[in-house]
Amino acid sequence: MTVSREELLIAAIADLIAAPNPHPVRHAAVGAASPIPAHAVMLARHRGLDVRLSLLQQRVGNPFTEGARELFDLAGQGRIDLFFLGGAQIDGQANINLVGTGTPAGSSARLPGNFGSAFMAFTVPRVILFREEHSPRVLVPKVDYVSAPGVSAAGVYRRGSPQALVTGRCVFAFDAVRARFTLASLHPGETRESIRENTGFDYDEPTHVPETRGPSEDDRAALAGPIRAALEDTYPQFCARVFGARAA
């Protein structure tokens, strides 16, 4: 069977989680709309990383006893190492916009809102930006509204910055010192040109850009087996779509 888009993204994010970093990931938190990041954390764990996953929306056996407030208190204390953020718009400095487009923001299209992003981006040391749609509409030169900034001025309290941006077409690494993305790998079927064409912001491009490393056969077996079993209650629709209907 061919590797699905979802499996590829899960493996790519799992690679990022395990990559050497000044902030090792011992505790990752994931929200309701993030089945791919949740599976990636579980895959990184399957590969041997000692990481705890807290699923905010787990209905039975939820890790929290004070709901999302506990999540934010944990983050405030530095007890969450990794979180995932997306955006209706993401720009070349890793600023994200969750509120809407136009001037004022939301006048053209209004989106749900900031959620906890304006806090989590500062308090969680590692953030992976994830947005499947990779188009000039989403990856813009400058966001219309900053829900969370990619970098902050010296003296502003923050524990880290986005590590990378994963899209449906490629992985960009983020350099917080230069506030700039570099093309890190291309998903199968993509070229430097297709990325350049579909990206509204400027970024760096090394002479050699590898293909995104997909999942191994062992990864795929784990995803369809024990990892599915652990996450199916939380993400039933996703699991059925990606791993197929359960054998009766």
């Binding site: 039975v60 929290f64 809102g113 900031n114 959620f115 906890g116 806090f119 900053v146």
Partner: protein, 275 residues
């Protein structure tokens, strides 16, 4: 003593123009009470999403009950964007104050402590902070180096609305592990609670249940409402009615579709299974 009333009587206790705190969809949201509020024709509510808003808020907006909303996001989750919220933003019918989740919790925690504000990390350099002229940035007075930090003023809701899994005859209500709801009750002037069922005995006298109880001290009135969170989930008692929420999201894309939904599910004869 906290009186036990009907859901309609609880709704009658919410005056027009009140500042009303609502839990999010996945956390004991009192939808039966919200339907009763719409039937009562409440107007000009200022809703507070703690910390985000969903189906219940979208219903109230569509029914013309809301003039202002403070929240960190409005979403129907897997069912997508909240259609009546989105429409109201398009027409300018709703005064929206954006927030971020921990800031809403912090504002209520300040109210529960009876202090005027609490500090919160993050937000510096965001457009959220630029827009929130009611929030202040100060220099941390305890730091040796400059350390700007945001102060969030306390928020005191006039009324908190909660759907509990159970209530006793004394007005103690059990919310289980969703203890962040106690903070809403502590912060609000008045808390009105619907409960899935009324139980005998005193919940506060049970050492195993008491940690998940909001004491009657904070509860102004209770009403029994079986399946009172439907079509939303209630803890592990029942899951969300995803098909119903999808159908709502589709219907409410148009004003006519929303009116038809209201007529069938809110204003019309109440389906026995739902109320």
């Amino acid at each position: 003593m906290t009186p036990i009333e009907t859901v309609e009587a609880l709704a009658a206790r919410v005056p027009d123009g009140a500042f009303v705190a609502l839990p999010p969809d996945a956390s004991l949201c009192p939808v039966a009470l919200v339907r009763a509020l719409i039937r009562r024709g409440v107007r000009d509510l200022h809703l507070l999403g703690v910390p985000i808003s969903g189906f219940a808020t979208d219903l109230l907006i569509g029914a013309g009950c809301v003039s202002a909303l403070t929240t960190s996001a409005v979403t129907l989750g897997e069912a997508g964007l909240a259609p009546r919220f989105t429409a109201a933003m398009r027409t300018g019918a709703l005064r929206l104050t954006d927030a971020t989740c921990p800031a809403v919790h912090t504002a209520l925690q300040a109210a529960e402590k009876g202090v005027p504000f609490l500090p919160l990390r993050g937000m510096i350099g965001t457009d959220l902070l630029a827009d929130r002229t009611d929030w202040r940035v100060i220099d941390n007075p305890f730091a040796e180096a400059p350390d700007p930090i945001v102060l969030i003023p306390a928020l005191v809701p006039d009324i908190a609305l909660i759907h509990a899994a159970m209530a006793d005859r004394f007005g103690n209500v059990w919310v289980g592990r969703r203890r962040e709801l106690a903070t809403i009750a502590h912060a609000a002037r008045t808390t009105l609670v619907t409960a899935e069922r009324l139980v005998e005995g005193n919940l506060m006298a049970d050492e195993r249940l008491a940690p998940g109880v909001i004491s009657s001290l904070y509860v102004s009135a209770v009403a029994e409402a079986e399946r009172g969170a439907w079509p939303l989930a209630l803890l592990d008692l029942y899951p969300a009615d995803a098909a119903h929420l999808d159908a709502y999201a589709k219907a409410a894309r148009t004003e006519e579709g929303f009116r038809a939904y209201l007529a069938e599910h809110v204003l019309g004869p109440l389906p026995k299974a739902a109320e």
